[in-house]
Amino acid sequence: MQIACIAVVFGGWQIGSTTGALDPLILPPLSAIAVQLGAVLRAGSAWAAAGVTLAELALAFALAAAAGLLAGFAISRSAFVVRVFDPLIAGLYAVPTILLFPLYLLFFGIGPPSKIALGTTMAFFPIVLSTIAGFSQVKRVHIAAAQSMGASAPQLFWHVLVPDAFPVVIAGLRMGLVLGFLAILGGETITSNAGLGHEIVTMAESLEPAKMFAYIVVAVALASVLNALTSYVEMRGRRHESA
């Protein structure tokens, strides 16, 4: 059924292009896109651009996850501290992160660091909020049971707190990855000198729509792979729920 829907859309697209109903500058034919996709993949420019974007994302996510997980866990240790910080962080989260981009461009220049900063900022919030939530909702009876059986503090953390918090925390991590990716791509389309977003906007501006779509395909493919990977990690940690 899903394949049929995609087939209809793509079929319609190709027909539209061939009959001239679709303006080739806005929506080039699928065949042209396919050709350009092959070209940029062979030329290596697609890999290079994807590499830049991926590297920015990897660093941004690593920073956001480290900060978010540590801060989130620390805050979760006291109900009072949670009451103080959770609304503060949630409030900050509501501020559009993109507003910080001009500031980051000033601090870090137009290269990858400003995108990394943007990505880190964006990814941090869902991670820290879900980490707070995840560790706060660990069932007391699980902790009591482990303690009564002699669990040490590290054992309690790794064998009870982490597994119990995992479903909530992993959801936040996945969200952080997605939002970070979008922020970085977006930042690249606004001001950058490399990366998939940069190529996409450059191709648009040089009136090369087929090449632009080719890079969009690469970006979508990258997003799909990331999604599949994180989905797998989440599923492995939660397989006891659907046993």
């Binding site: 059986m149 597994p163 119990d164 006891h240 729920e241």
Partner: protein, 265 residues
């Protein structure tokens, strides 16, 4: 083995001087010799569960002390005391077998002994066929049996059980009670068992400590003179009925009183 000695234990929640301070337990004193099964019974909010937590070292009393085999309890004693909770305390992300192994790991049992002990415990409660099941896939009765297996595998001399069968239907409850009695006869553990069920208390206990409404004090101690393992026939005997009736008389007024003062009922 000297057993459990409870001396003048009191428990309260809320700061001193706070109008909302609740005194759950007042001046509980009781000696439980090794190998005895004692039931704690009383209206809700009378401090029975609090007392159990204190014996287990999971909570500190505001007054009094508990000694186990002569040593004062200052924290959990994983090698001496096992605990079975009312709510399901199995770790949902682990299978039944892994749950038991987790307990053994926490207690510090060497790796090569864990498998054997886990297998023994599973056999003792009859769950060998479900060793790889997750708690989600088990019925309430099976979950509690699994929790019992985990506690039994730790081979502690004392077992504390906080209304372990409360969430189960009466029939399952009675059958599990019989099994517990068999286990007790085999292992000679000291068991402290909190329950609301009159019949369960008489069927299982060597002695029954009856609590008053909050603040809970030990009102009376009934003795049930019947050897373990308790035969299923004991359930329908006149002796049990007589004791159950005596328990009812003792408790009825306390439960009424608890309802009137709004103490937890």
């Amino acid at each position: 083995m000297q057993g459990i000695s409870i001396r003048g234990v009191s428990q309260a929640f809320g700061a001193a001087g706070d109008a909302r301070r609740v005194v759950a337990l007042e001046d509980a004193t009781l000696d439980i010799p090794a190998g005895e099964l004692v039931c704690l019974i009383g209206p809700s909010g009378c401090g029975k569960s609090s007392l159990l937590d204190i014996i287990a070292g999971l909570a500190k009393p505001v007054a009094g002390s508990v000694t186990i085999d002569g040593e004062p309890v200052r924290g959990p004693l994983p090698k001496r005391v096992g605990f079975v909770f009312q709510e399901n305390a199995l770790f949902p992300w682990l299978s039944v077998y892994d749950n038991i192994v987790a307990g053994l790991t926490f207690q510090g049992v060497p790796k090569d002994e864990r498998r054997g002990r886990a297998d023994e415990a599973l056999a003792a409660v009859g769950l060998e066929a479900f060793r790889n099941h997750y708690p989600r896939q088990l019925s309430g009765g099976m979950k509690q049996r699994a929790q019992l297996a985990r506690a039994l595998s730790l081979q502690t001399e004392i077992l504390l059980m906080d209304e372990p069968f409360a969430a189960l239907d009466e029939q399952t409850r009675l059958v599990l009670g019989e099994d517990l009695s068999v286990q007790l006869a085999k292992t000679r553990k000291t068991i402290v068992f909190v329950t609301h069920s009159l019949v369960e208390a008489v069927f299982l206990a060597d002695r029954i400590a009856v609590f008053t409404a909050r603040p809970g004090r030990i009102k009376t101690i009934l003795t049930v003179d019947e050897p373990h393992p308790r035969a299923p026939g004991f359930m329908t005997s006149a002796k049990l009925t007589g004791l159950r009736n005596a328990l009812y008389e003792l408790l009825h007024d306390e439960v009424r009183r608890a309802m009137e003062t709004g103490a937890g009922v």
